[in-house]
């Protein structure tokens, strides 16, 4: 579904991604794990068209999207839940969800909202509330719900567990499993390698802008290198 082929990305003169290649197949959860600054978020931003690679190629559903403007990608079926949630804090929960459905022409069908509320019943209770007044966990749920509103073919999650209490992290990952069971294709970027490897079909380990390791989630969770570097021994 998504093929990233040898992309090199720069921040000014800083060579952030040094020839990264990976792929995501339909129905899979693929995790990108790695330490802070390894290039995980840069990779997602490049796929989302916020940044563009200097060389290499990104293909999504057989279409070259390497240099496509970011705002055109949601209509092609790509949605991202950005790092730090980035919900619209001054808008209501409903308005945030409407923005998620921005690419939808005409009135947003009621079923789309109901679908989000079925995953996140708490958002339904708070539908009229200003998003800035939600708790951190609820904001993460809203960010995920907002991304679902565009009926994405590939959902990209950037650090969904960041800044959340362990019990909420558990809840968010359960929802990711729910999405997966419903057939969603997910690209997950996580610093919490343990949780990520538990849900992922396959995973790639990023180290200073290159892919150091790859394998199935279970394989990597058993690997000594991973245990030592990311899972605390």
């Amino acid at each position: 579904m998504l093929t990233v082929d040898g992309i090199h990305v720069y921040y000014g003169n800083i060579h952030a991604l040094k020839g990264i290649s990976f792929e995501v197949n339909e129905g899979e959860i693929v995790a990108l794990i790695g330490a802070n600054g390894a290039g995980k978020s840069t990779t997602l931003q490049t796929v989302s068209g916020i940044m563009h690679p200097r060389s290499g190629k990104i293909t999504f559903l057989d279409e070259d999207i390497t240099h496509t403007d970011g705002y055109k990608l949601p209509a092609k079926g790509l949605a991202q839940v950005p790092e730090g949630r980035r919900i619209f804090l001054q808008m209501t929960v409903m308005e945030n969800l409407e923005m998620g459905a921005y690419i939808h022409k005409g009135k947003v069908p009621e079923e789309d909202f109901e679908n989000v509320f079925s995953h996140f019943p708490r958002l339904k209770e708070r539908r009229g509330q200003i998003a800035g007044t939600l708790s951190g966990g609820e904001q993460q749920m809203l960010a995920m719900g907002r991304a679902l509103m565009s009926h994405p073919k590939l959902l990209m999650l950037d650090e969904p567990s960041m800044g959340l209490a362990p019990i909420l992290v558990e809840e968010i990952f359960n929802i990711i499993r729910e999405f997966h069971a419903a057939g969603a294709t997910i690209l997950l970027v996580e610093q919490n390698a343990e949780m990520a490897l538990q849900v992922a079909d396959r995973a790639y380990v990023l180290e200073s802008g290159t892919i150091a390791l790859s394998g199935t989630g279970a394989e990597l969770a058993q690997s000594d290198e991973i245990k030592k570097a990311y899972l605390g021994g």
Binding site: S48, I50, G70, Y71, K72, L73, P74, A75, A79, Q80, P82, R86, I87, F88, L89, Q90, M91, E95, E98, M99, G100, Y102, I103, G132, L134, S135, G136, Q139, R146, S150, G163
Partner: protein, 293 residues
Amino acid sequence: MTFLNYLLSGISLGSIYAIIALGYTMVYGIAKMLNFAHGDVIMVGSYICFFAVSRFGLPPVVGVLAAMAVCTVLGILVERLAYKPLRAAPSLAVLITAIGVSYFLQNGAQLLWTPNPKVFPSIVGNGRLALFGGQLTVSHVTLVTIASCVVIMIALTLFTGHTKMGKAMRACSEDKGAAQLMGINVNSTISVTFAIGSGLAAVAGVLLCSAYPNLVPTTGSMPGIKAFTAAVFGGIGSIPGAMLGGILLGVIEIFAKAYISTQLSDAVVFAVLIFVLLVKPAGLLGKKISEKV
């Protein structure tokens, strides 16, 4: 009754400031820049209306629509040519460019239309409405100005609160990156904002010159600065703030002229502004930036 008369003049002048301030505040909200050329767009709008009505003998409504059309296009052009290339530049560069655009428009107007003052024909005639058995008379211009301001306020509130484009605008003004992830074309949203702000500036220009008929190439600069002050007063970036700030500023200015001193009125206006900013640095309705971590 003189008090009421002053109050009405104040609200009327304030309505013009409010309409101009809306353009400042909307553009600031979305592009995070102070468009100091906004005042000169008013002047261009007034000239267009003047020529349409006085020279070509077109009906005033057509004159207003022509002014709005020209200013809308002008606003989009200025944004595309002068500000868009600087989207990633430091804000000081954008500010200086805006001042440059302001001079460019003023000097362009001098070249095209000469610095000689034109007497602007009031678009609503010079009639007056007598109330309370003639004790209170209100000019039609005052009534039309206040009514226009009310209509614009309602229309903009509905637009930003209930239409898809209006909501997209609010989304962009909060977080352009996240808006782009929703599939919102941020650049065209910014263009639309400039278009609306400039179209409103044309209306403000026509109303301003109907009340104060002396039209010169620098006509827009002082009201522009006052309206900018009004936008800051109300809380820059806030649409209700611009409306409130504009009207209060107009009322304070007229009262200061009437009861304190004609010469000192502007000083009083700015003294009030400084006082408000000392007490409420974000302006009357400004948003306190607080984010949950």
